[in-house]
Each structure stands twice: as structure tokens, then as C-alpha cells.
């Protein structure tokens, strides 16, 4: 999801040893000073912490409650806006999930039913069939069947309504912004800077201000979702437009296109398949956010999972989670098939009906059937399958039979590994931590990177979130280490098995498109609430990019060099250590970077299982509607992520450059 984080950090690393030595010596001097010097070098003094969060909170509160623009109170404007965007969501929910009601009080009756599951499911299957053939239709049928039989249909449709409306708005807005950025470099620079920060700001932070401005309910969720899902659409639109071959544009200009004709008849159609890739990402991010936004009243499947997490009712949580997976698979596969189709045009075969006509006929037919046969409208409760009990039994069985093992593991991990690291980081003098960061930045990137990282770190210090930030750091460190230790070897192994790679990519794709919330469930099932669960969930989520980059990196080694090694009689291990690892190193660094970015986005969600880090601060702020705290703590997470991103990107660029120099000498 963070694949598109790109930033121009100059890779002008100091190449001679001397400056490196100097910065290391400066750090040593700092250590001595910390040891013998005043306490404020170790513990952040009160005078260094500014009540930024309060100020920001007050400002936004004032803006939302008191301010007025041209005589109109902002409060009224936002509420009006909320009303306005509530309409399409309400419309979609009525159409897909709830239908219309009449009567009042206890006398409420459904006067018009929503579209039946038969109609909607059929639409999905027919579309899948047309776009992706029989196998895709089969997959979609399974998913629809699952949702119907397990009684998740209605909630899934609430989620789907939110997704559809949000995607529509995000796609339109993203396309417009993308076109604008494509046409003007200035606009592009601005949007790129904003989008880069937006992609690292944790998901919850979007919820806090929108909650304040738009009130609890679907419209706040929608605004947050659109904001969250916008960046990939903008980014991919710009990339797609830039990738249109120069000759194709020249062909349009030679044909005498005006600027508008060029855009709509040449550039956009040619770029369509790449824009569709952006749309796919937007859809998946939207789904992720809609699930999370259940917290502020989006409802749907996410709400079931959250409820289950709160009550520790793992069974129904897992069921709803699997519903989310089913929905995610359908949306992802169908939109990917559509993107593939967009790559080149295709005529209908003789006798083939246009898709929209098929769908229209189907909807009418299915509605008539549903009217005659109630079963097709609403799957009867009596025939529902529930596995909640099964899962709950499984959990209690695990807890009975495996309790000792799991608990021993948990205690061991907590006491022997996690606590020491946590305490070490918590006790580490803040000046030394920042000093070490600065040295790392100096070694990998040079002075500009030093300034960049140190100012980001100082932001955390000044806003008073250093403690929770260190707690986040400790969770991230462990989870990323685990993810890399698990993921890279798997990736390396897959690299030597080309036949498995297609399947592996499919699995990795699916893992990466699953909404983050889903990952909490198995962790909680095994390890209950706490840091261990958090780390397990984060690791599970972050392992996919590690595997992927491990695989790609290892496949990159030039063939000729491998053959040379084989001839000179290297053993497999020797080839790995002397040849493959060094060649793959820059790619692996980028892989670690991606793993860290994924870990950060999951870490926030993991606050739901009771961590004590920045994510928890955001969550608390969200529950108490403390806007300032929510935003600032969120920005601190972004700062951490940006520091890691800057350092690793510089390191990767650095090794690549050094290698280039060596080769060209």
C-alpha cells in the first residue's frame, strides 16, 4: 500500500572515511556528556515540551464550533455538507442493504425490500464471468455464497454501499487532482508533498478531525475514507499520464487535437489500464478504511469485528473477519480483471450482449424471483450456518490443551525479549537516541538527511510524545525483525522455484489486500490481549513485502555471474553469501523499508488489542474526541515512519551508487 512513497532524499553520502569518523567521535563525546552532565540530557525536561496538541485542538475546536466564513458558521457548513454527502450513502444503503421502511414506533414495516442477494450476487458473478472468465466467476460465487449462508449478507452490503460511494468520490477527485498535477509541475510538487505525508499518517488520525467536523456517522466515515484512499489514485493517474508514449501524444497533436481532445481522446484512453491499477488500490484502501471507520459509525462488517474484539467473542469476530476477506477478494479480483481488460480494447463476440444489458435483465429477473420466493430475498435464519460456536470451541480447546505451551511462550517472549528491549529504549537518554539517528543519517545520506531526521525526531520531543514513540519503536523493531527473518528466507527459497512464483504472488497479493483489522483476530485468538498479540499481528501483516522483496532481490543476480561462481566451484552457501546477498542488497533494503511502512500502518490498528504506544494515544484521543492529541500523536507516527523511510532509502541509494562507482572504475 505504501509502494508509492517516493521522496527525493539526496544520496550524496560522504564517501571518505574521515567525516564518518568525526560524526562517530561526536556521538561518543555526547555519550560522555550525557553520563556526567545535567539530567535534562537524559530525561526530557518539562520546559522542552510544548502543549502543541492542546493548541491545535483548541484551534480546530474553535474552527469547528465558533468560526464562521462570510457570515455562515463553519459548524453549519460542515453539518450541511454532512447532510449532503449522507444522501448518496443513504441511497446506496437503501438500495443494497436495508430497503425502505414505513410506519413508526413498534409498527415499523419494510415497505420496499432492498435488492435481493440473488440480484446483487448475480451481478457480481456475471461481471466476474465477463471480465475474468469461468475461474473468476467461480471464486466470486464461493464468496457470495459464503456471505449469504453465514448471515453476513446485510452487513456486507452496508460495507459495500460505503465502499462504492467512497470509491466513486475518491476516484473522481483523484482523477481530477491527478490531471491537474500532470499539467502543472507546481501543483504536482504540492500534491506530491501532501500525499507523501498522508500516506504515512496512521489511519485513525483521519477519523479524529472528520469526527469533530462532521459528527458521528457515515458521512464522517466517508470523508475520512476518501481522504485516506485518495493518494494512490492521484499518484497513479499522474504516473499513468506520464507513461503515455511521446509519439502517441505527437500523433494526437498532428491530427490537430485541441488540448481537451488530446486529454480525453488520446492521453486518458491510452493511460486507462494504469489508471485502473490505481483504482484497484483505491478500492482496497477504501475497504480497509471503511472497516476501520465502523468505529465512528460506518457500520457494516467492521462493526461486527470491533464488537467481537471488545467482547473477546473470537468466534463471531472470525466469522465477520472472513466475510471481510470474501468481500476483499471479490472487489480485488474483479477490479484487477477490469484493469487487465482496460489494457486493450475488445469487441463483443457475435451474439454476445453488452454487459449492462445482461445485468439489467438479471436484476429485473432476480427481483421478480425474490418477490415470488422469499428465500431469494432474505436467506432464512433457519438455514444459516454459523461457525462461531466452532471457533469459540476451538479457542477454548486451544486454551485448555495448549495453554501451557502458549503461555510459556508468551511469558518467555515478554520477559526475556520484549520487556528488556522496551525498558532499554524507554530508559535510553533521548539526546543519545537522536544523536545515534543523526550519525546514521550522516553515514547514509549526508548533512541534509541529518537535518531532516533530527527535525522529525525533535518534533516528537517537543510535542511530548517521546515515551509512547519509544514504545512504538520497540514494537516495530521486534515485529520488523521477525518479519524479515521469516520473510526473506521464504523469498530466497521461492526465488529458486520459478514455478511456485505465480502462486506465491497471488497469495501475497491477497494477503496485502486484506483489511488490516482482520489480522488482529488470529493473534488475539492465540495470545489474548497485549503486546505479544500486537507483535504477532504486525508481523503477520508485514511479512508479505519481506517475502516479495526477498524473492525479487534474489532473482536479480546476473546469470553470468552465477555461472562464473559455479565454475569456480562455490558451494551453495558461498554463492549465497558472496554473490547473491551483495547483489540483492539494495533491493533487500527497499524491502525492509516497505516492511517497516506496512508495520507502521498495522501498529496503529494493533492499539485495539491494548498496546501502550502512539497508536493507543490516537485511539484514546479518538474515543474522547480530543482532536489535537489525535492529530499530533498521528503526526508523530508519521515522523517515525518518515525517519525510517529516509534512512533506508538513502542507504539503498548509497549502496547502489557505490556499486556503480566500483563497476565503472
Amino acid at each position: 500500500m505504501h509502494d508509492s512513497v517516493t521522496r527525493a532524499i539526496p544520496a550524496s553520502a560522504p564517501t571518505s572515511r574521515k567525516p564518518r569518523l568525526h560524526s562517530a567521535m561526536a556521538l561518543a563525546a555526547l555519550a560522555v556528556a550525557v553520563f556526567f552532565g545535567p539530567v535534562w540530557l537524559t530525561v526530557i525536561p518539562a520546559w522542552l515540551e510544548f502543549p502543541v496538541a492542546t493548541v491545535v485542538g483548541d484551534a480546530i475546536n474553535w474552527f469547528a464550533r465558533e468560526a464562521s466564513i462570510g457570515g455562515l458558521a463553519v459548524k453549519d457548513i460542515t453539518r450541511l455538507f454532512a447532510e449532503f454527502i449522507d444522501r448518496p450513502i443513504q441511497g446506496a444503503v437503501v438500495l443494497l442493504a436495508d430497503g425502505l421502511f414505513s410506519g413508526r414506533g413498534l409498527d415499523v414495516k419494510q415497505s420496499v425490500p432492498p435488492l435481493s442477494w440473488l440480484a446483487i450476487g448475480g451481478v457480481a458473478v456475471i461481471t466476474a464471468w465477463r471480465l475474468g472468465g469461468r475461474s473468476l466467476a467461480f471464486t466470486v460465487t464461493i464468496c457470495v455464497g459464503f456471505l449469504v449462508l453465514f448471515g453476513l449478507w446485510q452487513n456486507a452490503m452496508v460495507t459495500l454501499s460505503n465502499v462504492l460511494v467512497s470509491v466513486f468520490i475518491a476516484a473522481a477527485l483523484g482523477l481530477a487532482l491527478g490531471i491537474w498535477s500532470f499539467r502543472s509541475t507546481q501543483v504536482e510538487n504540492i500534491t506530491r508533498a501532501i500525499m507523501n505525508v498522508m500516506q504515512t499518517v496512521p489511519i485513525f488520525s483521519y477519523l479524529v478531525p472528520t469526527l469533530l467536523l462532521f459528527g458521528y456517522g457515515p458521512s464522517a466515515a466517508l470523508v475520512a475514507t476518501v481522504a485516506y484512499a485518495l493518494p494512490p489514485m492521484v499518484h497513479n493517474t499522474v504516473l499513468a499520464l506520464k507513461s503515455v508514449p511521446a509519439e502517441t501524444i505527437e500523433c494526437g497533436r498532428m491530427a490537430g487535437c485541441t488540448r481537451r481532445q488530446l486529454l480525453w481522446q488520446v492521453q486518458l484512453p491510452t493511460a486507462l489500464s494504469k489508471i485502473a491499477v490505481g483504482l484497484n488500490q483505491t478500492i482496497m484502501m477504501t475497504l480497509n478504511m471503511v472497516i476501520i471507520a465502523s468505529m465512528i459509525g460506518a457500520g457494516g462488517l467492521g462493526f461486527d469485528v470491533l464488537k467481537a474484539l471488545r467482547k473477546l467473542d473470537i468466534g463471531s469476530g472470525l466469522e465477520a473477519g472472513m466475510g471481510i476477506v470474501a468481500l476483499a477478494v471479490v472487489l480485488d479480483r474483479v477490479s484487477q480483471a477490469a484493469a487487465k481488460r482496460a489494457a486493450h480494447g475488445k469487441h463483443l463476440q457475435p451474439g454476445q450482449q453488452p454487459l449492462w444489458r445482461l445485468l439489467a435483465v438479471w436484476i429485473v429477473a432476480a427481483t421478480v424471483i425474490a418477490w415470488l420466493l422469499p428465500l431469494a430475498q432474505l436467506w432464512p435464519k433457519a438455514y444459516l450456518i454459523s461457525t462461531a460456536a466452532f471457533w469459540n470451541n476451538l479457542v477454548s480447546w486451544i486454551n485448555q490443551e495448549w495453554f501451557d505451551v502458549l503461555d510459556a511462550f508468551r511469558t518467555f517472549a515478554l520477559l526475556q525479549v520484549m520487556r528488556p528491549i522496551r525498558d532499554f529504549l524507554a530508559a535510553a537518554p533521548w539526546t543519545l537516541v537522536i544523536g545515534a539517528l543523526a550519525v546514521a543519517a550522516h553515514w547514509t545520506g549526508g548533512l541534509r538527511l541529518v537535518i531532516y531526521t533530527v527535525s522529525l525526531a525533535l518534533f516528537i520531543v517537543l510535542t511530548g510524545y517521546w515515551g509512547p514513540a519509544m514504545n512504538s519503536l520497540y514494537l516495530i523493531l521486534i515485529a520488523v525483525t521477525l518479519a524479515v527473518l521469516i520473510g526473506f528466507p521464504i523469498g530466497f527459497w521461492l526465488a529458486s522455484r520459478p514455478r511456485l512464483q505465480t502462486a506465491a504472488n497471488l497469495v501475497l497479493d491477497t494477503l496485502q489486500t486484506l483489511p488490516t483489522l482482520v489480522y488482529l483476530l488470529p493473534a488475539v485468538m492465540l495470545f489474548r490481549i497485549g503486546d505479544v498479540s500486537a507483535i504477532v499481528a504486525v508481523t503477520l501483516y508485514a511479512v508479505a513485502p519481506a517475502v516479495r522483496y526477498g524473492m525479487v532481490g534474489m532473482s536479480q543476480v546476473p546469470h553470468a555471474r552465477l555461472e562464473a561462481a559455479e565454475i569456480s566451484g562455490c558451494s551453495r552457501w558461498q554463492t549465497l553469501i558472496w554473490l547473491r546477498l551483495p547483489a540483492a542488497w539494495p533491493t533487500l533494503l527497499i524491502g525492509i523499508n516497505q516492511t517497516i511502512m506496512m508495520a507502521f500502518s498495522m501498529l496503529i490498528i494493533a492499539a485495539l488489542v491494548g498496546t501502550k504506544d502512539l497508536g493507543q494515544e490516537v485511539l484514546i484521543a479518538l474515543n474522547r474526541s480530543q482532536v489535537g492529541e489525535g492529530i499530533i500523536a498521528g503526526l508523530c507516527v508519521a515522523c517515525l515512519a518518515l525517519i525510517a523511510d529516509g534512512l533506508l532509502k538513502a542507504a539503498a541509494a548509497n549502496t547502489a551508487i557505490q556499486r556503480h562507482r566500483k563497476n565503472s572504475l
Binding site: A255, Q265, P269, T270, H344, G345, H347
Partner: protein, 356 residues
């Protein structure tokens, strides 16, 4: 060299000028103002490099005549694409003049430019530049659609063009369902759909396999004999240039170093660069029979075959060798005998030597 009056016309020297290009400069990285302030016309290549500019076209002047095939050739990076794009202002020239059918192109406003491109120009691209979302018919009809021609008219015209390039029956295929050669045929059909008088082709066959390339070269020659367009053709392949050109301009590092007929370039190269280019071309392929002509002697009979003065020596070699009688050369526009082929000179040319 014996020359027959009238063959000049072949080289188009007396025809109407369609494109007139004078002192054209294109310096990437420099504005017109910066270029003039730096007195760019007198800078050397190194000076440009030092300023961070790329002089892609340097002081190019040439005319293209009606219905002539004017080939620009040179090595990769010599500025061929840039020059041809300056002629349609796809690339804005730095300074200089370009006139197309008397219109000062560089003074034209955006809307005038669009009008000129729509009505007078067609272009074929190296990598075809087809629109992937349109089928063959839609691609060929595209320039007409841009002009707002109604659907039936433009599709009828497009179908006509498609059959002209021999692709009838494939109207509803999409570009990625066709071979490279077929795709370029669509490119050609599209560029002709608006019936332009000026036809630009930028290395149209470079991306194709040799056999298909030869096919399309023949196709181009056939089309040109039918349509008589004014053609500016870019290539880096001298064989191709010789096969289709009336005149060739040779470019070296942005400068046009020589303009002339294929025979001119080979017999009288202007400098070493041109000479090295043309060294490996067999003379018999460019020299026409009028250069190996001798006066009629009383012993000549008209019993042998007769050839036109413009035919290339390589093309008539077998005829001349197998004929028992002297081969007559006719006047260019009449069926009267101008003289006979001098066997000795003829053999010299076949042996790769100068006729004298």
C-alpha cells in the same frame, strides 16, 4: 558526363516549393532570447555543451518540392526527428523560418496551427503510435473524428484507406492483435485519412523485420506513384534512402552536410563523412543509364532493346549483357533514341568504378 536535357525535372528542381526551411536552429535547453544573446549562430558544439544546451539542429536550410520524396538521413542522434518535428512545430524551433505552402508556420497562432495540421499534414511514427483502445477502423478514422467529421463519412473514408494499404477485413481488430507490419500499415492509412498534401514519415520501417521492411518500402513506392504526396522521409538506412528518394539530405551532428540525388551523393560526396556513408553502396544501384551513353554510330541498329534514361544500371544489367545488339537509350519524354549504351563504361560501373 553526358547529360540529357530534361532529366533535371526528375530531381524536381523546377517544381513548386512546398516546404521552405531557412536557417533553422533547434537548441534544447535554450530560449530564443538566450540563444540570440549568446550569439548562438557562432558557437561551437563544445560551447553548447558547456552551457548545458543540446544543439539538435544547426542552421538547416532546404526546400522540399511538390510530389518529391525528400529523405533526411544521418546517424542516431544527428537531429533528424527534431528537424521533421520543427516542420510541423511539434517541436518549437529556436530560430529560423519554416514556410509551408507559403504560410509562415512559426508566426501561426495555435488555432491556425491546428488548422494547418488538420488539413495539410499527415505523419507516420517509428513505433506506430496507435491508440490501443480503438480498433483499426477507429484508429484510421481518428484524425477525421478530431475534426468533427460525422461518423458515416469518416468510417467510409477510413475503410477506403484501410483497403488502400491492404488491410481490408481487419477493420475490427485491435492494434495488439496485429503484427508490426500490419500496425504500421494502419499508421500509414491513418496518416493519409485526411488526404494531406504533406506527408512526414519518421523512420517508419526501422522497428520492423528486414523482409517486412522491404515489403512496406515497395508499398510506399506504390502508394506514392498513385498519390503524389510531398514526402519528408526520415531514415538512418542508406539502402532504404536510395530505394525511395528523389533527393537525400545527409545530417551530421545537427547540420545538413549535403543535399543531392542518390547518384550525386555517391559520385560527388561533399566530405569524408558522406563518403564514408556511401562507400559501400554499389554504384550501379544509383547511376542511371544516361551516364554511360555514347553517340549513335552508323553501325547501330534498332534491333536491340531500348531503355529509359532514368533506369538504374543494376536494373538493366541482365538485359544489356544478354542482348546481342546494342541497347538503345530513349529520350526522357519521347520514344526517340538519344544514344546507345557504351559497353565499356557500363562494365566499369558494374565493376564499381567511375564510368570514365
Amino acid at each position: 558526363m553526358t547529360s540529357i536535357p530534361g532529366t533535371e525535372a526528375q530531381h524536381g528542381r523546377q517544381r513548386e516549393v512546398i516546404v521552405q526551411c531557412r536557417n533553422l536552429w533547434k537548441v534544447f535547453g535554450a530560449t530564443k532570447h538566450a540563444f540570440e544573446r549568446a550569439d548562438g549562430a557562432h558557437l561551437s558544439v563544445e560551447d553548447f555543451t558547456r552551457k548545458g544546451w543540446t544543439a539538435a539542429v544547426r542552421n538547416a536550410s532546404f526546400d522540399v518540392h511538390r510530389a518529391e520524396v525528400f529523405v533526411i538521413m544521418g546517424l542516431s542522434g544527428s537531429g533528424k526527428s527534431t528537424i521533421v518535428r520543427c516542420l510541423s512545430r511539434l517541436i518549437e524551433p529556436t530560430t529560423g523560418q519554416v514556410q509551408v505552402e507559403g504560410q509562415d508556420l512559426l508566426a501561426a497562432s495555435e488555432s491556425e496551427l491546428i488548422k494547418t495540421r488538420r488539413s495539410k499534414m499527415g505523419m507516420v511514427f517509428q513505433h506506430f503510435a496507435l491508440l490501443p483502445n480503438r480498433d483499426v477502423l477507429g484508429n484510421v478514422a481518428f484524425p477525421l473524428q478530431v475534426q468533427g467529421v460525422d461518423r458515416t463519412t469518416r468510417e467510409a473514408r477510413a475503410a477506403e484507406m484501410i483497403s488502400l494499404v491492404g488491410l481490408e477485413g481487419r477493420e475490427n481488430h485491435f492494434p495488439d492483435e496485429l503484427s508490426g507490419g500490419q500496425q504500421q500499415r494502419i499508421g500509414i492509412a491513418r496518416s493519409l485519412a485526411t488526404d494531406p498534401s504533406l506527408w512526414f514519415l519518421d523512420e517508419p520501417f526501422s522497428a520492423l523485420d528486414p523482409l517486412i521492411r522491404a515489403d512496406l518500402q515497395d508499398e510506399l513506392i506504390r502508394l506514392q506513384s498513385q498519390l503524389h504526396k510531398t514526402v519528408v522521409f526520415i531514415t538512418h538506412d542508406l539502402d532504404e534512402a536510395i530505394k525511395i528518394a528523389d533527393r537525400i539530405a545527409i545530417m551530421d551532428q545537427g547540420q545538413i552536410v549535403q543535399i543531392g540525388s542518390p547518384a550525386d551523393l555517391i559520385l560527388n560526396p561533399a566530405n569524408d563523412y558522406v563518403a564514408r556513408f556511401t562507400r559501400n553502396v554499389h554504384r550501379s544501384r544509383v547511376i542511371s543509364v544516361d551516364t554511360v551513353l555514347r553517340e549513335t554510330t552508323p553501325s547501330d541498329t534498332t534491333a536491340g532493346p531500348a531503355v529509359r534514361p532514368t533506369e538504374r544500371i543494376a536494373d538493366v544489367a541482365s538485359l544489356v549483357v544478354e542482348s546481342e545488339h546494342p541497347v538503345a537509350v530513349l529520350h526522357p519524354h519521347a520514344d526517340t533514341v538519344a544514344g546507345y549504351i557504351d559497353r565499356e563504361k557500363f562494365v566499369r560501373v558494374l565493376a564499381g568504378l567511375d564510368p570514365q
